[in-house]
Every structure is written in structure tokens, then in C-alpha cells.
């Protein structure tokens, strides 16, 4: 399989400088190795500190139990699933997996195909909610941009859907997605959708940055 690689730019939070990065339309072994050998130890350190401070488990990073090797293996070879990764400074900075078989729920796009973001995770050292100052900013946006671009490319007109972990609810509202409320059929997570118009507005906003 040929992997499509695009050049993108992230922000180095400490220096304010732009950092060149690769957006890859696949999750390959190198990314899974980074997850195993870099993300997991970094996250474990954070979890140990949270446990030491007696922080209740419902306030821990909600993706702490995600196993990217398992997620990737489960969908290997299936056309319905696609992966994306962001690589910068020689390390994997973010991962996403999307499903192309889902359809819209929002009134104007009910029953129409969309790109459903199954999983999206940014490397622990880029996540401000984990305590330390993030190293790079823009990784999550880059992955959402990639999912919308895929939706356009597949003829789904930018339509996007996802269930959000509570810690990310505000982010998805901020980028203009419609909050369709808690989904009792999916662990009570809030379900968000982006319409074609919202996708266009998102691209315009991203272009101005």
C-alpha cells in the first residue's frame, strides 16, 4: 500500500516557531512502535502521578486504556476503515482511525454517508489537560482536517460524525460541530456532527490561522 504524505505545520508551544510535520494517510508499524515505546510510558507516568495525588479515575485522561495495535489489527485490510497519523520531530504526534460506513443523524443529513471518527488521540506530551505544558499544538486539528478532506474526497461533502470523550466536548463545539446530545446506545457519550456548511467554515477558519 502506498502511503500518501502531506506536509503540514504545527506550533512549537515553547518557542512559538512553526514545526514541519507529516500528515500520513495510514497508521504504520513505526507509529505503533512509537505508541508502545513512547506514548505508553509517558501516559503511565501521568497516571501514576494522578493515582499518587488521589485524583478520581473519572478525571483521568479518558483514552488511557486505548490499545492502538489492537484497533489497527482489527480493521486491517477492510476498505471501510482508514487511519491517519501526524509525525513531527521524528515521533508520532497523533493518531486517528475513521469508519466510512456510518450515516448522518442531523436533520439535514440524516441517512447520508459521512466519515465517522472512531478514535482520535494526540501524544501525551501534546495534551494540555495532562498537566505539563504541551510541546506541539495543532495535532488534533490536523487530524480533523484530514478526516474532513477524506469526506470531501469520498464525495461525502465534508460530513463528519463522532462520539466525543467528555474532556473533548468543548473542542468539538469550538470547531463548529453540532452537539446532538448524549447517546444512550454508546456509553452515554455526546454525539457530534459536522455538516457540509460547517466543514467549509472549519476550512476557512483553519486557512486564516
Amino acid at each position: 500500500m502506498t502511503v500518501d504524505v502531506s506536509k503540514i505545520y504545527l506550533l512549537d508551544v515553547a518557542t512559538g516557531a512553526s514545526v514541519e510535520a507529516e500528515l500520513r494517510d495510514a497508521i504504520e508499524q513505526a507509529q505503533l512502535d512509537d505508541w508502545q515505546t513512547k506514548w505508553r510510558p509517558a501516559l503511565l507516568t501521568v497516571l501514576q502521578e494522578l493515582a499518587r495525588r488521589g485524583v478520581p479515575i473519572d478525571q483521568w485522561p479518558q483514552s488511557w486504556h486505548w490499545d492502538w495495535t489492537q484497533k489497527t489489527t482489527r480493521v486491517q485490510g477492510l476498505l471501510a476503515f482508514r487511519g491517519f497519523s501526524v509525525v513531527a520531530l521524528g515521533e508520532t504526534q497523533g493518531l486517528a482511525q475513521v469508519d466510512l460506513t456510518k450515516t448522518g443523524r442531523e436533520a439535514n443529513q440524516r441517512g447520508k454517508p459521512l466519515v465517522y471518527v472512531d478514535y482520535l488521540e494526540v501524544a501525551p506530551w501534546n495534551r494540555p489537560e495532562l498537566g505539563a505544558a504541551p510541546r506541539l499544538r495543532g495535532v488534533g486539528s490536523a487530524l480533523i482536517t484530514a478526516a474532513i478532506a477524506l469526506s470531501e474526497d469520498e464525495g461525502f461533502k465534508g460530513r463528519l460524525g463522532l462520539h466525543s470523550l467528555p474532556q473533548a466536548d468543548d473542542y468539538y463545539r469550538k470547531i463548529g460541530m453540532t452537539d446532538l446530545g448524549q447517546d444512550v446506545a454508546y456509553q452515554n457519550l455526546r454525539y457530534f456532527e459536522m455538516t457540509s456548511e460547517q466543514a467549509r467554515a472549519f476550512f476557512e477558519q483553519e486557512g486564516e490561522r
Partner: protein
Amino acid sequence: MTAKRTMTLNLTDAEMRVLDELSARKDITKTAVLRQALRLYQTIDARVEKGEKLLFENDATKEKAELMLL
């Protein structure tokens, strides 16, 4: 963008009508309908091969019907 290859497809009038109708209703191109059909067929086939069943449930009555794939 992933490179794509072109093929010619011969369809009957009835098949073409269904393709037109799905394309309009789902708000996607005819090519997108066929690509979506291929994805769904592969996904279902992979799960059936693993011993799973494909069931439809009526939202109101909760009645379940199994779709047999031969």
C-alpha cells in the same frame, strides 16, 4: 489522495435506476455509491466469515430479522 483506477461498468436499466435513486437520496455520486457498496459488502462478508450474523431490528417493535448471505 489515493490513486484510483478506472473501469467500465455495464448495468441494466433497473440497476441504473437504483443507482440513480441511491445517488440522489444519499447525496453522493454514483461512483461513491458503488464504492460504499463495496466497503459495506466486504465488512459484512468479513464478519459473516468469522461466524457472526447480520440482523435487522425494527426500532418500534424490536422484532429481529436475519439477513441470509449465501
